[in-house]
C-alpha cells in the first residue's frame, strides 16, 4: 500500500458463498478479506470457477454472501446496488433496440427529458467511436462494436463503480488493446472505481493498480500485488517496460502451479 489508508469504497469481510447445485453444495469463495479504495483499478485473477464473478455479483447485490459481509461506501450491500454498473463477456444489449436506443435505456429509466437523452447518446456514441451506427441493431454489429455499445451504455448511467467480468475476452488483440486504452482513459478521467475480472494475466498487469490472485475453488485470496506502474501509463509501450514484464511474470509464477490441480477440480 503506497497511499495512506482511506475509507474503503468496497470491503469484503470474511466473505464466503456456497451454492446448491443439483443437490450438491458448491463453495465458490471462502474467507475473502479485501478492501478497495475509491478510484482504484483492481484486477481479480485466478483459475476458472474460483469465484471471482461471485464477488462481483455480491458487490452488485445480485445475491448475498453466505458468510461475512460485503460493504459498499460504509453500508452493507442489501439488494441491488445502484452505485455499480456491470459489464460481462456477453454484452447483454437488448436485441430489439437499435444501438442508440440501447444506450438510451438507462437514461429512460432515470426519466431524463428527450432532448437531453438525444444529446447524451450522441456524445457517448462519438466517445466509443460508433457514430453512424445509431440505427443499427446489435445483431448487425461486430462483436467489438457491440462491446463498445455496451461500454457506452454503462457510461450512460454513469455508475460510481464499474464491475467488469472479462469484458474484452471475446475481442481480437487489436480491438482489445483499443478497448483497454479507452477503458483506462475513461476510468481515470471520470474517477471510476473498477473491479476487473480477467483470465488474461498480461491484461491484468497492464491495467490494474492492484491485482488480487485467487486460489482454485473454493476461491481464497492467494496474493495481492501492487502494480509497479504509474497510474498514467502508455499501454502501447508496455511490452518493453521491465516493470510490466516483471509483474506479468510474477502473476504467471503464481498461477501456473494452480493449473495442474485445476484439471481435477474442473466440473
Amino acid at each position: 500500500m503506497s497511499e495512506p489508508p482511506a475509507e474503503p469504497l468496497i470491503s469484503f469481510h470474511g466473505v464466503g458463498k456456497t451454492f446448491r447445485v443439483e443437490g450438491r453444495t458448491v463453495e465458490a469463495v471462502r474467507d475473502v478479506e479485501l478492501e478497495i479504495r475509491r478510484g482504484e483499478f483492481v484486477a481479480l485473477v485466478g483459475p476458472s470457477g474460483c469465484g471471482k464473478s461471485t464477488l462481483l455479483n455480491m458487490t452488485a447485490g445480485l445475491f448475498a454472501p453466505s458468510m461475512g459481509e460485503v460493504r459498499y461506501a460504509g453500508r452493507p450491500v442489501t439488494g441491488i446496488n445502484l452505485a455499480t454498473g456491470y459489464m460481462t463477456q456477453n454484452d447483454h444489449l437488448l436485441p430489439w433496440r437499435t444501438v442508440a436506443a440501447n444506450i438510451q435505456v438507462p437514461l429512460e429509466i432515470r426519466g431524463r427529458p428527450r432532448g437531453e437523452m438525444r444529446d447524451k447518446v450522441a456524445a457517448l456514441m462519438e466517445l466509443v467511436g460508433l457514430s453512424g451506427f445509431e440505427r443499427s441493431y446489435p445483431a448487425q454489429l461486430s462483436g467489438g462494436m457491440r462491446k463498445r455499445a455496451a461500454l457506452a451504455r454503462l457510461l450512460a448511467y454513469d455508475p460510481e463503480t464499474l464491475l467488469l467480468d472479462e469484458p474484452f475476452a471475446a475481442l481480437d488483440a487489436q480491438l482489445r488493446l483499443n478497448m483497454q486504452i479507452e477503458l483506462l482513459r475513461l476510468s481515470r478521467s471520470l474517477g471510476k472505481t473498477v473491479l476487473f475480472v480477467t483470465h488474461d494475466l498480461d491484461e491484468a498487469a497492464a491495467l490494474c493498480d492492484r491485482c488480487v490472485v485467487f486460489s482454485p475453488r473454493p476461491g481464497t485470496i492467494r496474493r495481492v500485488l501492487d502494480s509497479p506502474l504509474p497510474r498514467e501509463r502508455d499501454l502501447l509501450r508496455l511490452r518493453r517496460d521491465p516493470r510490466w514484464q516483471e509483474m506479468a511474470a510474477e502473476l504467471w509464477d503464481l498461477i501456473t502451479p494452480m493449473l495442474a490441480s485445476r484439471e481435477e477440480r474442473a466440473e
Binding site: A60, L82, L94, P106, S136
Partner: protein, 290 residues
C-alpha cells in the same frame, strides 16, 4: 456457403456482392433470381396438378367424388353473382377474427401475469393443464347450451381454442426472459414496470407471435366446426349444405375459400409481426457465426 452461392450465381450475377456486417442483404443478388425461378417452378406445379385433376375427373375417377376445376370455378362464379359468397365469408371472417383477437388478448394478458407472478402460476398450473388437455372443440355443445347457436357461440369457441395456444406460448416466453438482461436493467435502477416494458414484453413477443401463427388455422377450425355443428350461415354452413345436396363442386369451392381466408389471416399476422419486430429481419440477414 459463399463459394457455392457464387458458383451457382455466375450466369446471373457475375460479381456476387460481398455482404458486410452492416449492409442490407444484397436484394438483387443471386438470391432474388433463385427466388424468382422457384416461384415459376411452383406455378408450373400448380398448373400441372389442376390440369391432371381436370383430365382425371370423369375419366379415371367419377366426377361425383372429386368434381373438377372448371365446375368449381363455375360454382364460385354463381355464388359471387348472387352475392351469397361474400355474405358467408363475412360471417366466418367475423367469427374467426373476433375470436382470434379476444383469445389472443386474454391469452397474452394471462401469460404475462402468470409468467411474472410465480405464486399465481404455481396455484393455477394443474387447473390449466387439465383444461389444456381437453379438446376445446368438445366444449361446443356446452357453449350452445349457454349462448345458443348464434355468432357468439362460434366466437367464444374460437377464442377458447386460440387462448390456450397463445397463453402457453406467452407464458413460456415470459418465463424464458434472460435473467441477466433483467439483472442488468435492475442495476440501472429499473422498476418492475421498466423491466416489463423494456425487457419482458419485447423478449416474449417472438414467442407470442409463434403462438399467434399456430393459432391461425385453429381460429378457423373453431369458427367452421362451430358452424358445422349448428348454424344457418357462414362457410361451415355452406360446406355442410353443399354436402347435403351432393354438390361436390360446392364443397370444393367452400374449401377453396376457407384456404384463401387462412392465407389472408396468416399474411396479416406476418405483416403485424414484421412491423412490431423490425430487429428480426436484421437478425435473419446476419451472417452466421458459430
Amino acid at each position: 456457403m459463399t463459394v457455392t452461392q457464387e458458383a451457382r450465381g455466375v450466369a446471373i450475377a457475375p460479381e456476387a456482392p460481398r455482404r458486410e456486417a452492416r449492409e442490407p442483404a444484397a436484394a438483387a443478388g443471386p438470391g432474388a433470381a433463385a427466388k424468382g425461378r422457384m416461384v415459376l417452378y411452383r406455378l408450373v406445379l400448380a398448373v400441372a396438378i389442376i390440369a391432371a385433376w381436370q383430365f382425371a375427373s370423369g375419366t379415371l375417377v367419377a366426377e361425383f367424388f372429386i368434381s373438377k376445376p372448371s365446375a368449381i370455378i363455375a360454382a364460385l362464379q354463381r355464388q359471387v353473382a348472387t352475392g351469397s359468397l361474400f355474405f358467408h365469408i363475412g360471417i366466418t371472417a367475423t367469427e374467426a377474427f373476433s375470436g382470434f383477437l379476444i383469445g389472443a388478448f386474454v391469452g397474452v394478458t394471462a401469460g404475462v401475469l402468470l409468467g411474472r407472478i410465480p405464486f399465481l402460476s404455481d396455484l393455477l398450473q394443474p387447473f390449466i393443464l387439465a383444461f389444456y388437455s381437453l379438446p376445446k372443440i368438445a366444449l361446443a355443445p356446452l357453449f350452445i347450451l349457454w349462448i345458443g347457436i348464434g355468432i357468439w357461440m362460434k366466437i367464444v369457441l374460437t377464442a377458447t381454442v386460440v387462448f390456450f395456444l397463445v397463453f402457453l406460448n406467452t407464458f413460456t416466453g415470459v418465463r424464458s426472459v434472460s435473467r441477466e438482461l433483467v439483472a442488468i436493467l435492475k442495476l440501472m435502477g429499473a422498476s418492475e414496470r421498466h423491466v416489463l416494458f423494456k425487457v419482458v414484453l419485447p423478449s416474449a413477443i417472438a414467442w407470442v407471435f409463434a403462438g399467434l401463427r399456430i393459432s391461425v388455422p385453429y381460429a378457423l377450425i373453431g369458427a367452421i366446426v362451430g358452424e358445422l355443428i349448428a348454424a344457418n350461415r357462414g362457410l361451415g354452413f355452406v360446406l355442410a349444405s353443399a354436402t347435403g345436396q351432393f354438390d361436390t363442386a360446392g364443397v370444393f369451392a367452400a374449401l377453396l375459400v376457407i384456404m384463401a381466408m387462412a392465407f389472408v389471416l396468416n399474411t396479416l399476422v406476418r405483416l403485424v409481426e414484421r412491423w412490431l419486430m423490425p430487429w428480426k429481419a436484421s437478425e435473419s440477414e446476419r451472417e452466421i457465426t458459430i
